[in-house]
């Protein structure tokens, strides 16, 4: 436990962001790792609960939060790292990206501000890298078993590391040029600089995980080959089928899926795709001097806001069909220990608002897109979106549905429209078809409790199995899938 009365004596530490005027000019991380002395102080607020909800209900990984909080408080960073590493392969990543369900579930969230566990996790991980504690853990013996993992997002990487450490030969197939999946191509650098990812992937490589990048499974290598050459196959391709809009004007130019927009930007930032090849992969315009409309009020939408701003957008409008959530300025969680439905304002929102370039709207539904009529002719580019306001009602089946409010239509001008309305399910690729996998009702890969798909020896994990979710859940599923595969291999 931290200090017995630490939680009474001390307020939660504040996040330190780089100044807005500075950060919007680059793609470097917006949030800084807190200094050690602040972190140890923060750790003292942890009460080491008899029933730690952070660890048990909050964190999908079951991180031993009270244990490492206590160790950090006692300045035992190395031991803290060892306890952290027991459950989390990539704490430096969750320490940056996680919405921190642990904090939502923290006992202190019942009536005051939770322990800043995400920052503590991040600090431990950063310290571990700095001190050189994070080293490869190659397996001591080789099992002789071979596993192919398709997809190198958080779930695939976690599974890869776990399986490799168990002594199996692991080959990860990634269709993009570099491993990382959504972490590399989806998350903007201002939330996760890519060298953070690189150093982790280096560890995996040093442990003996093999990456086959620029190889699309089912296309560059056949399902049959994979089945033949590997003892087990793990599908970790994520949930990449975006939700689309079937409305007039959808096919106008300038309307893009958010992830494509973000990926293109990440490629540009990293410079990993030569400029001349970029159009081949993503033929996307920049938001520079454009009016941007983001449809969808979630995290991806927020990332679009931050990215557009940095690209030099004139103005950004973010719309959400759901009603505006309750504004909540108290430090505690009104729906403890669950994820509360409250208005969230990201650093991207804050910075865009600070420079007066953001409008956020809720309870509006887009009805159509149209181009702006120029003098010459009708353009094929989007120029305006038409909306109607909605209110939410319950139908006979108890389901919520949006009811349009009469006479509430309005329009917004937009040069670029980004669709960030979430994802439907895993992409139903040739690979999956060739493997003859069953899908569940939502279109994701169906598995049993042991992560095995309808095809024996083929496993699925992460968003491909569950639908789009959090990085931390993906890691958890990757770890558990690895255990399941290991058990499967030894039961053969």
């Amino acid at each position: 436990m931290g200090s017995p009365k630490g939680f009474i004596q001390r307020e939660r530490a504040e996040t330190i962001y780089r100044p807005i005027e500075e950060r919007i000019k680059d793609y470097k991380e917006v949030e800084l790792t807190l200094p050690e002395e602040i972190i140890t102080g923060e750790a003292s607020r942890c009460m080491e609960c008899g029933t730690p909800f952070c660890h048990s209900l909050g964190c999908p990984l079951g991180n031993l939060i009270p244990e490492w909080n206590d160790l950090v408080y006692k300045n035992k960073w190395y031991e803290a790292y060892l306890r952290l590493e027991l459950t989390n392969n990539f704490p430096e990543i969750t320490g940056r990206l996680c919405p921190a369900l642990c904090e939502t579930a923290c006992t202190l969230s019942i009536n005051r501000s939770p322990v800043f566990t995400r920052q503590i996790e991040r600090a431990i991980a950063e310290k571990a890298f700095k001190e050189g504690w994070i080293t490869p853990h190659p397996p001591i013996h080789e099992s002789g078993k071979r596993i192919a993992i398709v997809g190198s997002g958080p779930s695939g990487l976690a599974a890869a590391q776990q399986l490799r450490r168990m002594g199996h030969r692991v080959v990860v197939f990634e269709k993009y040029p570099k491993p990382g999946g959504i972490l590399r191509y989806g998350i903007p650098d201002f939330k996760l600089e890519k060298h953070i990812l690189e150093r982790r992937i280096k560890q995996l490589i040093d442990e003996g995980v093999e990456f086959e990048t620029d190889v699309e499974a089912g296309y560059d290598v056949s399902a049959r080959y994979l089945r033949k050459k590997f003892d087990a196959l793990l599908i970790a391709t994520g949930s990449r089928e975006p939700r689309d809009l079937d409305i007039p004007g959808r096919n106008l130019r300038g309307i893009h899926f958010a992830l494509e927009f973000l990926a293109a930007n990440n490629l540009k930032v990293s410079g990993e795709v030569p400029q001349e090849e970029a159009p081949y992969i993503f033929s996307l315009p920049s938001a520079e001097n454009k009016k941007v409309l983001v449809i969808g009020g979630g995290d991806t939408g927020s990332d679009c806001v931050g990215t557009s701003l940095r690209q030099g957008a004139l103005h950004i409008t973010q719309v959400e069909i759901l009603p505006k959530p309750q504004e909540w300025n108290n430090p505690y969680n009104p729906q403890w220990p669950n994820w509360p439905k409250i208005l969230r304002t990201s650093s991207s929102h804050r910075e865009a608002e600070a420079v007066g370039k953001l409008t956020r709207l809720w309870g509006v539904m887009v009805k159509s897109f149209e181009s702006l009529k120029t003098e010459r002719a009708t353009s094929d580019r989007v120029g305006r979106a038409n909306f109607v306001r909605v209110e939410w009602k319950i139908d006979q089946n108890g389901r919520f549905y949006p009811k349009e409010i009469e006479g509430s239509t309005f329009s917004i001008e937009a040069d670029i429209v980004l669709l960030a309305m979430g994802f439907l399910h895993v992409r139903h690729t040739t690979l999956l078809k060739d493997l003859k996998l069953n899908y569940d009702a939502r279109g994701n890969i169906e598995t049993n409790a042991y992560y095995m798909t309808s095809t024996p020896g083929v496993f699925a994990t992460g968003d491909a199995k569950t639908g789009a979710s959090l990085v931390v859940r993906a890691i958890n599923h990757g770890r558990r899938a690895a255990e399941a595969i290991n058990r499967f291999l030894y039961s053969q």
Partner: protein
């Protein structure tokens, strides 16, 4: 007769207690008057006995006298020789003629074989009409035989020759009878002696004389008589278990019996004596283990006495007084006791023993002296000793001396020498009869350097975590167990209950220790306070080879003396390398191979046993069993299994006493481990791995670097020592010598076969795993530990991975091998299961806050889900399928809820807000909440919130008696005597000063900022008859309240419950051992007490069997969480159900388990105003919870096809073990004992006692007549506040006089009472127990005579005056006029006593003022307020645990400080004028009221005497008073709970 072991009933578990006494003509003159008066004593002790379910059968009474020669001569048809030249045998024989004749023939045959001639037989005339039905049914046939022995040479030289031959003959007969398969109901010999004869049987004392007509004959004469009236927790007629036995009558309990029996059995093999020669073999077995503790004690005493020691010498061996350094005793005496410590362990337990060898008659008390023994010596030469004073009236001028036996003391009347011999003379002569001191100095072995400061311990850092894992270490062991012990030198504290799974149901491999639960004392004997009264306790022991018990030689003490049982690594090294003559030490490895098939463990045990035996045969005196050297291929035999297996193997071989067993083990780390190891035979333990762990923790920076390695280890050892004392004290055991091998544990989840083989004599109530699983669990741990290691080793041998060399080093083992979290003390996912999972907490809170039954169902599904929480016995049960009925036919939820109560939670352990929310909730439902032990603020009796009363209807009476006043009692509907608490039964607690806020201090009647201690025992309940007395007192203190007794589930709780029923309580509460606490040592939370399923079932079975089931209601609590729990409890016999933790969770508790830290973040269990602000609970939450529960119960009832809960109570046949829930580990679980249905009709047995509480007729209250007189004569005062004054006679059977009058006053005038002296009652005679109990303000009781125990118990403002009767010639200040434990829990009032009071005067006084002429040991113990003036001597340990109030002692020889316990007080010279004025004023008042000559003399010589007074001032109290004066009471920052904890 005693029923057989059936279900959970075990006939060896009954307890008895009682009244004892003796009467003697000091000059040895034999008179019939002795018999007559003896019977009178018995009759006057009747209230200390009990009667059974048929309301007529007494538990037994009896009398031992000299052979009434004149009587026999007169009535026998044959002639008998001169007195002393013949023997008389008294036989209990079968009624059936044929069997009886066979028996008499056998007796005659054996007598002849042994050289006797039979003079004749006599049928003893009896009158069975007076007996109870049960007693009559079981009545034996009574015969006496008369025998002589041919005169020989030895006959002339040895006065005991005939006695010894008779002894041998009797033992032969007993053995023969046993061989013939006769039980003791069929063949029993009360006495066969040339000196003594025993008349006894199954009756109450009043039936005695009419039953045995012999005793009424005027020629039936004796110079001495020993009498006994029994109160047994059983009601099974058992004629032979009545006292006296052949040598003793005993009021007490031998707690260490199993160990004593094992040890005496082992010693048989080296027993020899020229007095017996070859006949010695005929004496075996020395003891019959199926007898009672007292009878077995008698057997051994007889052996020692017949073996050549005098009876007093033998008793000094068996029940040694405390001889620790704190006692000021002679060196020779100390040496005597130390020498004998090497020969025999104490037979430990509370004991008042009257004894006789036929010539000498005497009595003694054990070292704790908790049973009363008062004596009177008259001028005319009568000596009388009895449990109470007043059993025989004497004229004041006849009395030469009035006294009481002090703890450990003895008194003898020698009718040959015609003298009364006192303790000092007896003991000094015996301790000097041999040069014990020289023998000791020359022969005892003190290894040089042993127990020196430990030097640093080497650790193998590289392997340490692996070895730790192999022994099952977890992070919790390190951080939550070992670290706090190192830091604070005491056991760690925790809070809330234990909701993890039973060891046998856990998915995680368990240490064998976890299958054993510590037993503890409740009711039938008191626990000891190991902190305040540790002077009576001792961890010293001898180890080595024991010699012939019947001899005394210097060699007997040639053993190693250990001052305590924890050996450092240096110690063990020294031992291994010692070279002492005739004291060889050898080491035997207790490792076993991990590579073989299952069965290796058993083979290893067999071979270790044989190896140890070989070493002993070759003469080794000390065997070190070592599990050092664990490798991948070899792991340790579980240390507990190793020690117990070897111990029992050696006991069976008769070799156990030939060598000491010492363990060198990596397994032991927490206190419970050490206790079990010692309890199963280890003499000492070296926990090397715990030491290495400490050093490692130090290295890793967990331990303050200012604490040296040596001190860290020293602290850890200190913590273990304290913990051992605490665990021993829980059972009332004082010395480690008798605790060793006493097996004071019960097993849960181990198979009977396994236990019988390796833990012989231990009870296992639910069966379970055997040796194969023990082996598998051990191997699982071991393999897990070595898994990575072996891989790495292989790897390093042929390294080939890609990392650099540095990486390789970085990836070193030590740093990366991680221990498991543990998850016992804090929840961890994937670790130990907890019933209250986070999901369950959230669901319950959602349910009660939103009044949402579906969430509640979600909650109860989580709790009941066997996949998630197969934690409890009930989770293994299935309710048999029956035909459902529509739910609307089931009784409404309101009627179900009537059976719900809250379990005790004190204001102090939880916040005011939480406490009041619960009271409001219960009162608005018309149910009863329980105020807990902390008292209750008076305002709550009368205040309402929204029309709902704040008053808790159940008021608890716990050991500290906080706030227990007359007014408190009358404002209750139920008074609950808390004997034990599930989380820490047998332990006391303490509320640290900084938690004693103004509010709490007010309620608990103490001073803010002053620490409050709850003693482990109720100082007015040392035995079952005392409990009956307290029940009696409370019923008088509030005749309208029902009285309940809270017990904790453990082996034997059923028989205690039967005793409670016989004590006329209305309700008995069986509390599960895993219930919650505000603070308690972790080991107590985890390892003491059993689940309620077992205790409840046992209680129901025993009550039914004893025909007592309809006399009492049965309530249950402890981790009750869902409707299903209630249904199962009802089926097992419970009628009412208590809830606590679930209510707190409903009010916002999130199972932080930080109550003891005062940092509850939701304001539930904290006194911190900052945190209390966060309390969000509402009474509705509790109401919703209880309604949901009732709804769920109702659904179950409908499904089961019953319309009321009442119908299913005790219907255990509706339950069965659900085999589908069993797995490989649990497949042998056997619940048949729990599910046993006693064979009596349902209708009779499970009768609901719902109406039982109202208007119980009180005709059984002996004092009623007197009390009614008092009420009548006080009417004017009661109604009109007019002064009244009158005089009455009183005798010792008038008990709790004044309590009912006080209740009347409190009801009318509340706490304020009447103006001083409004009612003045003068009494003449000997007052019974609890004279002036709860006496209210405005009453004066003036007693000319004397008083028994518990004078002024709970005094609530009244005044008591006692002085000797006019005409007394003895010196008052040297004679006992008031018994033990006066003013217990007094809160106000005044007491003036012209005479001495016994032990524990003013214990837990928090406000009364007393003047007394002298007090016994432990005066002013735990006092928190009030003033006590002692005008004379005090005993030892004065002011122990005294945290408040002031005592003034006249210290004439200025040695008082040597008798005072200075831990918490200072002894000051009085300088303050205020003090002087106060003293003078009250001594003056004392002189006026009592005519004390002593006081008058002091006043006359004030200038000379005043300077001799000292003032005893509690240190904290002084500080607190100072602070109050400065009016700034600041709370200190941290809740650092020390030593013990509060409730």
């Amino acid at each position: 007769m005693l029923p057989k072991e059936e279900g959970l009933y075990n006939p060896t578990l009954h307890h008895d207690s009682c009244g004892v006494g003796f009467l003697a003509n000091i000059n040895g003159e034999k008179t019939h008057r002795v018999i007559e008066k003896g019977i009178q004593i018995l009759c006057n002790l009747e209230h200390r006995g009990a009667i059974g379910g048929d309301m007529k059968t007494g538990d037994g009474a009896g009398m031992l006298t000299q052979i009434p020669h004149d009587f026999f001569k007169k009535i026998l048809p044959f002639s008998i020789p001169q007195p002393g030249n013949y023997g008389v045998g008294f036989f209990f024989l079968p009624q059936e003629r044929e069997k009886r004749e066979y028996a008499t023939q056998m007796v005659e045959h054996i007598l002849k074989e042994e050289g006797f001639s039979v003079l004749g037989w006599r049928d003893v005339p009896v009158n069975p009409d007076s007996l109870g039905e049960q007693a009559r049914e079981e009545m034996p046939f009574f015969k006496q035989v008369f025998v002589t022995l041919e005169k020989t040479e030895s006959h002339r030289t040895d006065p005991l020759y005939l006695e010894r031959k008779l002894y041998i003959a009797r033992k032969v007969m007993e053995r023969e009878a046993l061989k013939s398969g006769w039980n003791l109901d069929e063949f029993y010999i009360p006495s066969l002696s040339s000196r003594k004869i025993v008349y006894k049987g199954m009756f109450v004392s009043t039936q005695f004389v009419s039953f045995y007509q012999d005793l009424g004959d005027s020629d039936f004469k004796s110079a001495l008589a020993v009498v006994h009236q029994r109160y047994s927790t059983n009601t099974f007629p058992s004629w032979f278990l009545a006292h006296p036995f052949r040598y003793i009558a005993h009021n007490g309990e031998i707690n260490t019996l199993k160990g004593n029996i094992n040890k005496i059995t082992a010693r048989e093999h080296t027993l020899s004596s020229p007095l017996f020669g070859d006949d010695i073999k005929k004496l075996f077995p020395i003891v019959n283990p199926s007898l009672s503790d007292s009878a077995i004690f008698d057997n051994v005493l007889e052996l020692l006495t017949m073996g050549g020691r005098s009876i007093e010498h033998s008793l000094m061996m068996m029940v040694p007084e405390a001889f620790g350094s704190r006692y000021h005793i002679s060196e020779d005496k100390r040496a005597f006791f130390e020498y004998h410590a090497a020969i025999m362990e104490p037979w430990d337990g509370p004991a008042a023993i009257t004894f006789t060898d036929g010539i000498k008659v005497g009595a003694m008390l054990d070292r704790n002296g908790l049973r009363p023994a008062r004596y009177i010596i008259t001028k005319s030469g009568t000596a009388l000793l009895a449990s109470e004073v007043g059993v025989l009236p004497f004229k004041p001028e006849e009395v030469l001396e009035k006294g009481r036996l002090a703890p450990g003391k003895m008194l003898i009347v020698d009718t040959e020498k015609r003298r009364v011999i006192k303790d000092n003379e007896i003991k000094s002569s015996i301790s000097r009869q041999k040069p014990y001191r020289h023998w000791l100095e020359k022969n005892r072995i003190l290894l040089k350097g042993l127990f020196g400061p430990p030097r640093s311990v080497g650790t193998n850092e590289k392997l340490l975590p692996i070895i730790q894992k192999s022994f099952g270490y977890t992070v919790e062991d390190l951080r939550k167990i070992i670290l706090p012990m190192v830091e604070n030198a005491q056991e760690p504290i925790g809070s809330m209950g234990n909701d993890t799974s039973l060891a046998v149901l856990s998915d995680k491999p368990q240490l064998l220790f976890n299958y054993f639960k510590q037993l503890f004392a409740q009711v039938t004997n008191p626990p000891i306070d190991p902190y305040r009264e540790n002077l009576v306790m001792s961890l010293m022991s001898f180890v080595g080879k024991e010699q012939n018990l019947l001899e005394e030689t210097p060699e007997h003490c040639h053993q190693l003396k250990l001052s305590h049982p924890i050996l450092t690594n240096d110690d063990i090294h020294l031992l291994k390398n010692s070279s002492i003559r005739d004291f060889r030490v050898s080491t035997v490895s207790i490792l076993f191979p991990t590579t073989g098939h299952i069965g290796s463990l058993q083979r290893a045990i067999n071979s270790v046993c044989r190896e140890v035996e070989t070493r002993i045969d070759s003469g080794d005196s000390l065997i070190i069993l070592s599990d050092r050297g664990v490798t991948e291929e070899k792991t340790a035999i579980p240390s507990l299994l190793a020690i117990s297996a070897i111990h029992h193997y050696l006991v069976n071989r008769g070799k156990r006493h030939l060598a000491g067993l010492v363990l060198e083990t990596g397994e032991a780390r927490e206190v419970h481990h050490f206790a079990t190891l010692i309890g199963y035979g280890a003499s000492a333990i070296n926990p090397y791995l715990a030491f290495e762990t400490i050093i490692d923790l130090k290295r890793r920076g967990y331990i303050d670097s200012n604490l040296s390695d040596e001190d860290a280890i020293e602290n850890y050892i200190t913590a273990i020592k304290k913990g051992l004392l605490k665990i021993m004290s829980k059972m009332g055991v004082s010395t480690i010598r008798s605790y060793r091998g006493a097996q004071i544990f019960e097993a849960i989840g181990l198979s009977k076969e396994f236990v019988d083989k390796y833990f012989t004599g231990t009870s296992t109530s639910i069966g379970g795993i055997g040796i194969e699983w023990v082996e598998r669990e051990k191997l699982t741990m071991h393999r897990e530990a070595f898994r990575e290691y072996s891989e790495l080793k292989k790897h390093l041998e042929g390294s080939s991975f890609k990392g650099s060399k540095e990486d390789n080093q970085m990836y070193s083992f030590t740093s990366t091998i991680q221990l498991d979290s543990g998850g016992r003390y804090s929840y961890r996912r994937n670790s130990e299961k907890h019933l209250f999972s986070p999901e369950a907490i959230v669901a319950l809170q959602r349910a009660v806050r939103n009044n949402d039954y579906s969430s509640f169902k979600e909650y109860s599904t989580i709790i009941n889900d066997p996949k998630k929480s197969l934690c409890t016995i009930r989770s293994l049960l299935k309710i048999k399928e029956t035909t459902p009925i529509p739910i609307d036919r089931v009784e409404p939820i309101e009627s179900i809820m009537k059976r719900f109560v809250t379990s005790a939670m004190s204001f102090g352990s939880i916040s005011k807000e939480a406490h009041e929310a619960i009271a409001l909730a219960m009162n608005s439902l018309g149910l009863r909440s329980n105020c807990g032990e902390g008292g209750e603020d008076e305002y709550r009796f009368y205040s309402k919130v929204g029309g709902i009363s704040l008053n808790s209807k159940i008021k608890q009476v716990a050991s500290a008696r906080f706030g227990v006043t007359s007014n408190y009692l009358v404002n209750a509907e139920e008074l609950q005597i808390k004997i034990a608490q599930g989380a820490k039964p047998g332990e006391g607690g303490q509320l640290p000063g900084h938690k004693v806020t103004r509010e709490i201090a007010k309620v608990r009647r103490s001073t803010p900022g002053v620490m409050l201690i709850s003693p482990p025992p109720h100082h007015d309940i040392y035995s079952i008859e005392d409990l009956a007395q307290l029940i009696f007192d409370l019923k008088h203190g509030n005749p309208n309240a029902r009285v309940s007794v809270k017990l904790v589930s453990e082996l034997g709780v059923g028989t205690v419950a039967a005793g409670v029923a016989k004590g006329r309580a209305d309700t008995v509460l069986i509390s599960g051992g895993d219930g919650g606490t505000g603070a308690s040592p972790l080991s107590s939370i985890m390892h003491t007490g059993t689940p309620w399923e077992i205790g409840l079932s046992e209680t129901n079975q025993v009550l039914v069997k004893s025909n007592l089931r309809d006399k009492i209601r049965v309530q249950v609590d402890g981790q009750l969480k869902t409707g299903r729990d209630i249904i199962i409890a009802a089926l097992l016999g419970a009628e009412e159900f208590g809830f606590a933790t679930t209510l707190l969770v409903s009010l916002g508790c999130v199972m932080m388990r930080k109550c003891h830290m005062n940092t509850c973040p939701v304001g539930v269990a904290t006194q911190d105003p900052q945190l209390r602000k966060f309390f969000r609970g509402k009474p509705e939450h509790v109401i919703n919870f209880l309604r949901f529960l009732a709804m769920e119960v109702r659904e179950y009832l409908a499904n089961m096809g019953f319309t009321t809960l009442d119908e299913i109570i005790g219907r255990v046949e509706l339950l069965e073990l659900d085999r589908t829930k069993l797995n490989e580990k649990t497949r042998d679980i056997d619940l048949s004992k729990v599910l046993y249905k006693p064979g009596i009709q349902h209708s009779k047995t499970s009768k609901s006692k719902q109406q039982h509480n109202k208007n119980i007729p009180h005709q059984w209250l002996v004092s009623d007549e007197l009390e009614n007189k008092i009420l009548q004569q006080s009417r004017d005062a009661l109604e009109n506040k007019r002064r009244v004054s009158f005089t009455l006679q009183i005798k010792n059977s008038n008990r709790a006089v004044g309590a009912t009058l006080s209740a009347e006053i409190s009801r009318r005038y509340k706490d304020k009472g009447l103006p001083e002296d409004t009612i003045h009652i003068k009494f003449n005679g000997s007052a019974g127990q609890s004279f002036g109990a709860f006496l209210a303000r405005g009453v004066t009781l003036e007693l000319e005579g004397d008083a028994n125990d518990y004078l002024g118990k709970g005094l609530s403002g009244g005044r008591i005056i006692i002085y000797p009767p006019a005409g007394s010639s003895f010196i008052p200040e040297r004679n006992i006029i008031a018994g033990n434990v006066s003013l217990f829990g007094a809160t106000g009032g005044e007491v003036f006593i012209n005479g001495m009071a016994g032990e524990r005067f003013a214990v837990r006084n928090s406000g009364a003022l007393a003047v007394v002429e002298g007090v016994g040991d432990h005066g002013c113990e735990y006092m928190t307020g009030g003033r006590v003036i002692v005008l004379g001597e005090t005993g030892v340990n004065f002011a122990a645990g005294m945290s408040g109030g002031i005592a003034y002692v006249l210290d004439r020889n200025q040695l008082f400080d040597t008798k005072c316990n200075l831990e918490m007080v200072d002894v000051e010279h009085i300088t303050d004028l205020e003090d002087e004025q106060f003293l003078k004023e009250y001594i003056k008042k004392h002189a006026e009221l009592t005519k004390s000559r002593n006081a008058i003399q002091i006043l006359n010589m004030w200038e000379e005497i005043f300077p001799l007074f000292v003032k005893v001032m509690p240190i904290d109290y002084r500080e607190a008073l100072k602070r109050i004066k400065e009016t700034e009471l600041e709370e200190s920052d941290n809740a650092n709970v020390t030593e013990e904890v509060y409730a």
